[in-house]
Amino acid sequence: MKLLEYEGKDIFAAYKIPIQRRYGVIRIGDSAENVKLDGNGPWVVKAQVLTGGRGKAGGVKIARTKEEAHTYIKNMLGMKIVTHQTHGAALTVEEVLVEAACAPEREIYISVVLDRKEAAPMIIASAEGGMSIEELARTRPECIIRMPVDLDAGLPDFQARELAFALKIPKKNFCDFTALAKALARVFLDYDASLVEINPLAITSDGELVAVDAKIVTDDNALFRHKDLEAKPDHESSEIEKEAKAVGINYIGLDGSIGCMVNGAGLAMATLDTVRLAGGSAANFLDVGGGANVEQITKAFQIILKDAKVKAVLVNIFGGIMKCDNIANGIVEATKKARLQVPLIVRLEGTNVKEGKAILKDSGLKLEQADSLWEAAQKAVKAAN
């Protein structure tokens, strides 16, 4: 689960990681005038969207006056944001965060990630903050510091000091920094995170250490022990994706025209790849799960058909434990229930495949069958065009 900046900063605040003073979070429909802006400013208005690079896309504005701040809030709410990380899609700004602007004198990068190879959390830091870590890794890999975090002990003092020395943290901020690094490791462990990132961590002209941004991604598999996270709205998934999740179907919307229904994540990915190889493009990734029964298949059809871009549906099921004749009966019944209007291409393989194919053939339904995934993909591309 990906948290918005202000949600991440709420967690930071609880762990005494310094953040800027907050004036409010304003949602679509709220009045911008309701935000109490005291002091002399400047203030910063930030679009709460799950993407990097929002500053360049107009999602971060510094306001010198209160009027300016209110205007930015009004303009930003409902705005569409497209960045290099959204892959052409536009994200709608539904919430903005208003904070006291800060003047960074130095920007540092610090994050905790899961190192898959070491099977342990790892602090990644660099004295060169501000830019994306991917870019830094590409251009100046020698500037990146790595430090393992113990799964139980977290980050011990000596490691936090080593890190502070390596980043050339000034004496004035030294103790604040070591406390921050330890707290960051603790957040990662306590929240079952896969990423906790501050970019940038600023040392301001006033000599204060401040987390200017917050990015937290948590492990969906661990949600059962984080009731507070489970209760938060899912900002990443689309409406269709949320509906699919609610009925236990793994669905990710894509931009093509061929709806895909597959059992198993790996085979589902391979199906999308094969559709592309055949010259088409998939409208979705959909894994109906191992036990593809009538209800699951019906729900899957209904979800695929919610996407108006779908011009044909490709079903690719490898009947292992679930036998092909049962799956075929499921497809016939589900097709009727879901009132399928677009061309349907079915590729069944596995146990009782002959019986399964015969059931589909004799069902009277308008559908095409294929023996291989490749043949199915070609037929689907033809039908969708």
């Binding site: 099977a119 890794a137 079952d192 896969s194 793994n250 990710i252 085979l267 292992g320």
Partner: protein, 303 residues
């Protein structure tokens, strides 16, 4: 010969009395797998499929000599189940459970490393995997047994149904398998590609290997380095997720492209550089392997 499992493996099923455990234990038994014990806390002393059920792994090992664990325990308790098996002296642990928190698995790995230093090392396969099968001898997992055929191609894969697809294509081409190992789709797992490739390279009964990977992580790149340096047997590969959008988790927790790492392109490039035949069109996997192995067979006959 085969790797990991054979007809003498003595299997203990964790969670055998549960719905999943019970269903799949029955299919494993029908395949001829030697399940010697079940383990469900609180059900010790009962019998299931006429097999004794124990409260703890320790008891099961003591009473039956079980050496292999097959785990069907729900995600919140699965990591603990792996540790229980490891501490009780089980040598091979196969964890089917999908959805175990990553940090739980990281803690399991930490403990297993410690046990290894103490000389009590264990082999873990999974989690989130279909299991292991040595066709004709032993099936410890949820794969459909009948699609397999005894033979000499070793298969290692991060995915379930994708493996069945590859197995089925090979079997349809008349190519049998020595052992098929599903290492699972999680970011932190037991055996990785290199661990399994090493075993296949050393196994006299395996003459070629099919490796099925997917986007995310760097296990395929590591495998490529190993293949280039050490493998003498031909390796064929398919990598799923060429068209997956970056940053999204594609069903498997480990199948996510983060930044520049874990991409389809980098994996294919690394494997091709290592001399691996990478199949672009999954439907051609069986044919490609069959064609690739033919000249060798002929050469073998001549000499």
């Amino acid at each position: 010969m085969s790797i990991l499992l054979n007809k003498d493996s003595k299997i203990l099923v964790h969670g055998m009395t549960g719905a999943q455990g019970s269903f799949h234990s029955r299919l494993c038994l029908e395949y001829g797998c030697n399940i010697v014990a079940g383990m469900t806390p609180g059900k010790g002393g009962t019998r299931h499929f006429d097999i004794p059920v124990f409260n703890t792994v320790k008891e099961a090992v003591r009473e039956t000599g079980a050496d292999t664990s097959l785990i069907f325990v729900p995600p919140p308790f699965a990591a603990d189940s792996i540790l229980e098996a490891a501490e009780a002296g089980i040598k091979l642990i196969i964890c089917i459970t999908e959805g175990i928190p990553v940090l739980d698995m990281a803690r399991v790995k930490k403990r297993l490393r410690f046990l290894e230093l103490e000389g009590r090392g264990v082999t873990l396969v999974g989690p989130n995997c279909p299991g292991v099968i040595t066709p004709g001898e032993c099936k410890a997992g949820i794969m459909p047994g009948y699609i397999h055929k005894k033979g000499h191609v070793g298969i290692v894969s991060r995915s379930g149904t994708l493996t069945y697809e590859a197995v089925w294509q090979l079997t349809s081409q008349g190519l049998g398998q020595s052992t098929v190992v599903g290492i699972g789709g999680d970011p932190v797992q037991g055996m990785n590609f290199v661990d399994v490739l090493k075993m296949f390279e050393a196994d006299q009964d395996t003459s070629a290997v099919v490796m099925i990977g997917e986007i995310g992580g760097s296990a395929e790149e590591d495998a490529a380095r190993f293949i280039k340096a050490r493998m003498t047997k031909p390796v064929f590969s398919f990598i799923a997720g060429r068209t997956a959008p970056p940053g999204r988790r594609m069903g498997h927790a480990g199948a996510i492209v983060e930044g520049a790492s874990g991409t389809h392109a980098s994996k294919v490039e690394a494997l091709e550089n290592a001399g691996v035949t990478v199949v672009e069109n999954l439907s051609l996997m069986g044919e490609t392997v069959a064609a690739g192995l033919k000249p060798k067979a002929k050469a073998g006959k001549k000499s």
